[in-house]
């Protein structure tokens, strides 16, 4: 095996150890603990409150849209922060590039807005 791949051997060992440890702990716990199943114990845990309705209930699609919009602008921020820390270094080229990026995103926002996606009906 080459040197290059040998470096990864650590990762393999680490992974094996993790699996072994987890298996050991769960196994010992299963062997030691008493097993008395009851109906209450099988209910899904929802912050100490009894669950209402089915697990497959439908949720408002608008939440989904907002979640998506949030992710998009979050990602935008992720790109903009590192750029902002080195804005002088990248100069005009960097500025224009970033402007193009923001304009593209804004276009998307304008589109979503005009299509009524931002309205909470």
């Amino acid at each position: 095996m080459s040197l290059f791949l040998r470096d990864y051997l650590t990762v393999v060992w680490f992974g094996l150890a993790a699996i072994l440890l987890a298996g050991l702990l769960l196994g010992v716990a299963a062997a030691v603990r008493p097993s008395r199943p009851s109906k209450e114990k099988l209910i899904a845990y929802e912050s100490g409150v009894d669950p209402v309705g089915m697990g497959w209930s439908q949720s408002q699609i608008r939440y989904y849209v907002f979640a998506l919009l949030f992710v998009i602008f979050d990602v935008e921020a992720v790109f903009i922060f590192p750029w902002a820390t080195a804005v002088e270094r990248y100069g005009w080229f960097g500025l224009i590039t970033m402007l193009i990026f923001i304009v593209l995103l804004l276009d998307g926002l304008v589109y979503a807005w005009k299509r009524g996606l931002l309205r909470w009906v």
């Binding site: 002088e88 270094r89 589109y111």
Partner: protein
């Protein structure tokens, strides 16, 4: 303020040479933003803007081509994009297909009362992705192009919101396509691990300058395997073809046409970039894999096509068999990849892509005409008696089908001849014969459609298909192109010859 320091050198941006991409992106943006800000545009204006955009982008690619013939090949934006005739040829193919599809889509959407800018914007975005795949000189950029194309296609496949099959197609394509993209990306990562770069020029350089250690070579080989899986999925080669029939059948017909033309062109361009241009030093490793993929696609695509009863599904399987043909060309290109005399493999593949794109859009355009008349039915029965109702359309369909079967004096013959000739030149006789026999099997499929069209009479009550102007123009020009190339292919072959000089 804003002074540049020495650590960062901004890459030069050759705006004019980026023209096709810029044109496509701006077209998409105009459609989206202006389309959203203004009330509904009148009478197919969305389609005409799209067609115009595609035409402008294609025209700019022709200008670029002339620059390349004058000044030679180069790279753009700091080596990220290749500026060569290969890229321009793919651009022209993609733009031509987009133009035709836009014309076909117009009527399809308006008739259903669903006209709007979204579908067209997605077409243009997908086309941008395909163009970037064709001109990428960096694997990361290539992946970006692939994702741009794929994401747009996922949405397009599901764009008919009233039909559950369309939704199903979208989801299927999305899940499996995402899976394939992951393979592809992992392949890139491994190649990077093995060669220390994602830039195609530097990848080649790493093979030329250094003697590889075993382990790195293992990484590169594993990377190649994963790349082939990812690309095999995108080009719909057997055994990565499972999604094709369902998605092709479920997606709206105009989108299917787009997938079969632009999607394929982009994916094969990527395949050539990655395998033939970036990894010629491993050509003896990847060529057998391509050989197997080609043979499987040819045989299974043709045989399964024959037993279908739905025309869209038939054409889906036939597209798999066509992918097999194109792979024959890729295999041929693999024999001399990276050498000074690279053979006819690459030109033949690019010629095939261009000709097949036009053919397949034409075929699907006719299918969409017939389907609309029969309430969305695309089974063989719907085609019965088409020759009595619409002889001209039936004739155009026949031209497309004969061309797909590879009958002489059509462009399909020139395309097939090209790849088979490339294979025979490299003495790959076995694959050439398998390909030709598969073509005969596939011919049976095209005959079945022709039998329905010409020789069987349909129900008396069926109305004549309405042929709207824009679709008629698309069908007619595609048929004319098919025949023109069949009789006078010299100029195209001449142009295709030059793609073997590529930038890196």
């Amino acid at each position: 303020m804003l002074a540049q320091d020495d650590f960062f050198l901004a890459p030069g941006i050759e705006w004019f040479h980026l023209g096709p991409v810029i044109a496509l992106v701006s077209g998409a943006l105009v459609l989206l933003v202006v389309g959203a800000l203004t009330p509904r545009w009148p009478r197919g204006l969305y389609a005409y803007v799209t067609a115009l955009t595609a035409a402008v982008a294609g025209g700019l690619a022709v200008f670029n081509w002339n620059d390349i013939t004058d000044d030679g090949v180069s790279t753009l934006v700091g080596g990220a994009l290749a500026f060569d005739t290969f890229a321009q040829m793919i651009t022209i193919t993609v733009c031509a297909a987009t133009l035709l599809v836009a014309l076909v889509t117009d009527d399809e959407l308006r008739r259903a009362g669903k006209d709007g800018p979204e579908v067209y914007a997605l077409f243009l975005i997908a086309a941008t992705g395909a163009v970037v795949m064709g001109s990428a000189n960096d694997l990361i950029l290539l992946f970006l192009g692939l994702e741009t194309l794929s994401l747009a296609l996922y949405v397009l496949a599901a764009s008919d919101r009233e039909r559950p099959t369309s939704q199903e197609a979208g989801i299927k394509y999305f899940v499996l396509g995402g899976f394939a993209s992951a393979f592809f990306l992992y392949g890139i990562a491994l190649i990077y691990g093995g060669t220390q770069s994602t830039n195609i020029g530097e990848i080649i350089g790493s093979f030329q300058t250094s003697v590889l250690l075993d382990g790195k070579d293992t990484l590169v080989l594993a990377g190649i395997a994963l790349l082939i899986v990812g690309l095999g999925f995108k080009v719909a080669a057997v055994p990565f073809h499972m999604w094709t029939p369902d998605v092709y059948q479920g997606a709206p017909t105009n989108v299917t046409a787009f997938m079969a033309s632009v999607g394929k062109a982009g994916a094969f361009a990527a395949m050539l970039r990655v395998l033939v241009i970036a990894l010629p030093f491993h050509r003896d490793d990847w060529r057998p894999a391509i050989w197997v993929l080609a043979v499987l696609s040819l045989v299974i695509g043709s045989v399964l096509a024959v037993v279908q009863t739905d025309v869209k599904r038939m054409l889906a399987y036939s597209s798999i068999s066509h992918a097999g043909f194109i792979l024959v060309g890729v295999e041929a290109a693999g024999h001399n990849a990276g050498e000074l005399a690279p053979g006819d493999g690459m030109p033949s593949v690019l010629t095939y892509l261009l000709l097949y794109s036009v053919l397949t859009v034409g075929s699907f355009a006719v299918v969409s005409l017939v389907a609309r008349n029969n309430g969305g039915d695309t089974s063989l029965d719907a085609f019965k008696g088409l020759a009595q109702r619409r002889p001209t359309i039936a004739l155009a369909l026949t031209v497309f089908l004969l061309a797909q079967a590879g009958v002489p004096l059509t462009s399909g013959f020139i395309a097939k001849w090209g790849v088979i000739q490339a294979a025979v030149e490299e003495e790959s006789y076995a694959i050439a014969i398998i390909a030709m026999v598969a073509a005969v099997v596939a011919a049976f499929l095209y005959l079945r459609i022709m039998v329905s069209t010409w020789l069987e009479t349909g129900a008396e009550s069926t109305e004549r298909e309405a042929v709207p102007f824009s679709t008629g123009v698309a069908v007619f020009s595609a048929a004319a192109f098919t025949l023109l190339i069949g009789v006078w292919p010299g100029w195209l072959l001449d142009a295709a010859e030059s793609v073997t000089t590529y930038a890196k």
